[in-house]
Symmetry: C2
């Protein structure tokens, strides 16, 4: 995929030298008064220029009628004039060298009417002049290090923000403001914050790209309603992964009701939620399912601690019960909890006879009587257990400052010898103890299961970092690949096309007569399957259009006649291309592989296992085409039905590698012909035992022109 056309940087927005405020008001409770009030009180370090033709002074600063009167070069404008006056203000900005504008005013596409056209003109202005425009109908932006509060959200009142490594982008202003309150409440370190509102120019993808390139940003936390532009979103997410940024996204609309709520909230067209899920997995983005999870993930990801190098979790606890609870959640999030080696268990037993030495390692409440138990247990776990990440549950020890300090000191002493390991503490703690831990860069969670989930998130990011090194190139398209049909064709022709694209298909021929069918069967070898060949009958078996286990010439003739009769009876209007004579498929696992056209993401691949269960459980994985075999393997891993491929009830394991190759090959073909294909269904794609490959048994290709 070629990189999208570069757009001017967002640097003037986040890092301006001087700021002008259009519609600046003397009343700090008004939308035009609040940003100026905030900027003055927060101590922004650059000059501020209120623009208001009706006043000479505003909030103690000289005011100017237009930018022409401002005796300085201004790079950022905050625009809070009524909607009908916004465009003129932006023109004024662009004409005087302003490189970025934040439009707080509402009354555009979100309310309809003339606002729609105004917003379109703002987009055009941004494209024409290169001035980047945020909004309209947004809550503005913040740069904590510059103490730049370019916002009117009440959540920013009094500043109250500490500089850190998390940058936030929210398409929703209300969500962005709520986030800001939570960031303050939790004391999280924030770098940049922006809400994009109606996105006439700057959108979420732009902001992710900017954060990806920003040296101070380690974590990108985003709230997304709908992506506007696939190429730019992909470019931004790829860049973030390449730069080792840790991305967590809240994307609502998992449920039908949720999707509806979003649709009524924005004018954007949302892609199917499962496709977004696939995109996030494809780019290593974590998707949060609650506000707690969103911020827990961001908090952990912003830690200076190293990322885990594997998924081995050790749990150290003062309560066997809580340890077991943590083990339950570790299993939920896919972490491994291997037991301590036998001799290490003996050493732990020697330290404390009634401890639980396995994993979780249970120090019991005895810790309170002998704090040094922590250091000794912790060290043995790191040394002998070789866990990649340890979560230590210490109950309410942190409520006593001296105990909390003692634990922290022991932790730091041991970690000096194991600087590549990740540790997360979980306990109730006083504010003093909490600050002590944060300053030392040690993660601390109140709730032990949330600590385990955070460990899972860090393991995920650690794996992404390792994956970055391994390029997963899509395979080349085979030289003789045929173009997709321009109208719906029968299954044999569809499989001919797919075979040319590198998908193994069942051996078969279309026969036009009984004699022809007998010859075909003899060539292919008995037993055979006979099926009606028609582009108009998608579900042949529902009208009895498939006869299996045909064993000799006489049976071929009888089956041929039966099929023609059934087609005549049940589908009199269908075009009949003849009868397919096909090799009887060997035993294997039935899967379904498909291509769909997504309005935002274009050609997307879908994979699932097991016929009716795909529909019943919606147990499928999506990815955007094209991709390589590693991504195809990840798709297979993602569906619960994968257990059937591993071999149940004495079946041999299926040929996963051939399956992954077929998925990747189809993704390449689908991407190459994205504009021509509405959908492809290979159902079933039969996966044979390991080493024997896959076989497409039936296929349907719907061209876009026919959809």
């Amino acid at each position: 995929m070629p990189p999208p056309a570069a757009r001017p940087s967002l640097a003037p927005l986040f890092d301006p030298r001087a700021i002008a405020i259009y519609g600046a008001s003397s009343d700090p409770s008004k939308i035009g008064g609040r940003p100026l009030d905030f900027l003055k009180k927060s101590g922004f370090d650059g000059p501020l220029y209120p623009i208001n033709p009706k006043a000479s002074q505003i909030q103690g600063l000289p005011a100017y009628p237009t930018m022409a009167a401002v005796p300085d070069a201004v790079d950022l404008a905050i625009v809070a004039v009524p909607a009908p006056a916004v465009l003129a203000a932006l023109e004024d900005c662009a004409a005087h060298g302003v490189r970025g504008a934040v439009v707080l005013s509402a009354g555009f596409a979100e309310v309809g009417g003339p606002g729609v056209a105004w917003q379109e003109e703002m987009s055009a202005l941004a494209r024409r002049t290169g001035m980047r425009v945020v909004g309209p109908n947004c809550m503005g932006l913040i740069n904590v290090r510059r103490r730049l509060l370019g916002t009117f959200t009440p959540s920013a009142a009094g500043f109250g923000l500490v500089p850190g490594r998390i940058s936030v982008v929210s398409q929703s202003g209300a969500f962005g403001g709520y986030c800001l309150s939570l960031i303050r409440q939790r004391g999280l370190g924030l770098n940049l914050w922006i809400t994009t509102g109606n996105q006439c120019d700057v959108d979420v993808a732009d902001c992710i790209e900017h954060f990806a390139l920003d040296a101070e940003t380690q974590v990108i936390a985003g709230y997304l309603e709908a992506a506007a532009d696939k190429e730019r979103l992909f470019h931004a997410l790829a860049l973030a992964r390449e730069r080792g940024k840790r991305v967590v996204i809240m994307k609502v609309g998992r449920s039908e009701a949720g999707a509806h709520a979003t649709a009524s909230h924005t004018a954007s067209l949302a892609g199917s939620d499962q496709v977004y899920e696939g995109v996030f997995r494809q780019f290593g983005v974590l998707r949060a399912r609650s506000i707690d999870e969103f911020f827990d993930t961001a908090y952990a990801a912003a830690s200076p601690a190293p990322l885990p190098q594997g998924r081995r979790l050790g749990v150290l606890t003062v309560s066997g019960g809580v340890g077991a609870l943590m083990a339950d959640v570790a299993a939920d999030v896919g972490l491994d909890m291997p037991p301590m080696p036998e001799d290490a268990q003996r050493r732990l037993k020697a330290l404390l006879p009634f401890c639980g030495p396995r994993n979780p390692v249970d120090m019991t409440a005895q810790l309170v009587n002998d704090l040094t138990l922590f250091e000794r247990n912790f060290e043995v776990m790191l040394q002998e257990g070789r866990y990649d990440v340890i979560v230590a549950f210490l109950s309410s020890v942190g409520l006593v400052t001296e105990l909390g300090r003692g634990i922290l000191e022991q932790l730091q002493t041991v970690l000096q010898r194991f600087p590549d390991r990740t540790v997360i503490a979980s306990m109730l703690a006083s504010t003093e103890v909490r600050q002590m831990f944060e300053q030392a860069g040690v993660m601390l969670f109140d709730e032990p299961t949330r600590a385990v989930r955070a460990a899972g998130a860090l393991v995920h990011y650690g794996q992404q970092l390792q994956k970055r090194a391994l390029a997963d190139m899509p395979p080349p398209l085979p030289a003789g690949a045929l173009p997709p049909p321009v109208q719906v064709v029968n299954e044999v022709e569809a499989k001919t096309v797919l075979a040319s694209a590198g998908i193994p298909v069942v051996q078969e021929r279309v026969a036009m007569s009984e004699d022809d069918a007998v010859r075909a069967a003899a060539d292919i070898g008995y037993p055979v399957v006979l099926k009606i060949a028609s582009p108009d009958i998608a579900h042949k078996s529902e009208i009895g259009g498939v006869i299996v286990g045909v064993r000799n010439a006489a049976q071929v003739r009888a089956a041929f006649r039966t099929l023609r009769e059934r087609a005549h009876t049940y589908a009199p209007a269908a075009r009949i291309d003849g009868v397919v004579v096909a090799q009887m498929a060997p035993p294997g696992v039935e899967t379904i592989l498909g291509v769909a056209h997504d309005p935002v993401f274009g050609a997307v691949l879908m994979f699932g296992v097991g016929g009716v269960f795909v529909e019943a459980f919606q147990d499928v994985a999506f990815r955007v085409a094209p991709f390589g075999v590693a991504e195809a393997r990840a798709m297979i891993e993602e569906v619960r039905g994968k257990v059937l491929l591993a071999g149940v009830r004495g079946q041999p394991p299926a040929d996963m590698e051939a399956l992954a190759s077929a998925i990747a090959a189809l993704s390449v073909y689908a991407a190459q012909h994205a504009d021509a294909i509405e959908s492809i269904d290979i159902n079933p794609l039969l996966v044979l035992p390991r080493g024997q490959g896959v076989l497409a048994l039936d296929a349907l290709i719907v061209p876009r022109s026919a959809a």
Copy 2:
């Protein structure tokens, strides 16, 4: 099930007039000093008698060498002497009329050695004397209203507890202590608290029963590692449900690693986790999967608000995005979110043109400018939307005391007109606003998705309350029901037994010769299925022991011979009882119905849909036998595979009622013969289209004597 033998009340433990402390120490940091220190400082209202032969005064109180010297009637003893001296102390107590004792001392079954025998003697003493004994190796108990701190957990230091409607029982002392810290931190109202430790006498079931009978307790929050006695646990849970108590239980061990951690933590034998899951569902208990969920549920359940009368959720929000997120979670927890009626939507639009009027109802950030929007939107939702429960997300409004108060006042005004509705607020709030809400009895959650989950919990408890009215009696056992076989028999004999118990089975006969088979087939009607009949071949199809679609006498003879040959070849040692000739089953959905023997709970029923997927996905539901059709219906509802019963791909809906009847009938039979049955497998139990019943196609009964 007859009620278990009544045991003496726990009242003397929780509500004593006077307390003696064995092993009382002058050092308040010691296990024998701390409870006395706590009791004195907390202001317990009864007399305290330190028992210690080595001192005349302890912590300012006169001390006594033994109970004989105490000049008063004592009903509760707290025992903190070393393990070898505990039994003598308990004998002394019992001899002097003490009715309850809490043994804090450790060194018993949990460490092995002589402690095991000591603990057994303590159990015997409790049984013999009727004195109730808590522990040993426990953290003691608390009665908040009496300011009774009979514990040495540091979490109780300084009291810091407010009286409320939640009572807590924890098998684990460490977990119990941690809970206490969290209860203080969250400001939850607590009534009674107890940890049961090694459970020589008083166990979790006893405490649940006591709480169920306690007028001040509305919520029972329990931490359970393993149940000791099925009858008493069931009696306690049934009593709690009957009394309308709301029960939330933390039971760890969902994962394999978790189960292991528990097993190393206690000596108790844990039943399979899925069976516990079934028990909790059977008794309307909510199971928490995290500490947050445990306390969120307890907090909501303790509210004076009415329980929802249905599952219709309305969401009122100031952020469309958060509203959509809440809708996602509502779908996860099974709440319905019907839209507002069309005309009500128009009324809301009239209030605020750019609101989202559907459901979620989005007031937008405009609320901050016009606080009365809340009252008007809220009222329309209750009046027109008729939601059973409303969750209102108000972002960070509660951080400003005046705004928080304004919301609360509006809320109360409207609720006066709808006293049967449940409302939950979600916002960031100052301590002052939080207290205002709590005092007004209005639930308040920081995190909106946790508020939605709490709504789900309240809906669950509301349904339990309604269910209580509908008795779900197990059906009677049919008069001619045969006893289970005493050794493994072939499938035909197994089905004969099941048919006598009320399970419809396929029409079939065992044939001993070809002629016999032809006669049987003619009687049954073609086509038929032929199968090897053997008690020794459990998986017939794996050796080709099933031939379907047999259509005439010649095919019957051929199939008969083939089966005998295959049995001879592949299972030469198996006893062959002949060949089963069976009716060819009509189309239907394959399910599996089974009975297993659980070491704690006895006969348990298992149900799942769909052959190989039961094994692959472990998508099954458990219940303890016996039960009625309503519970059987709940089992069916619980498995994801139920979608296949509803009819997918144009299949007709299956006969759910016949299925529920068969499940209930088997549960009655299994309970009746619990001691004689190791397991029953009906696989498949074919469910025919609605109105056509079910058919057991294959069955295996393993008697306990043969296991």
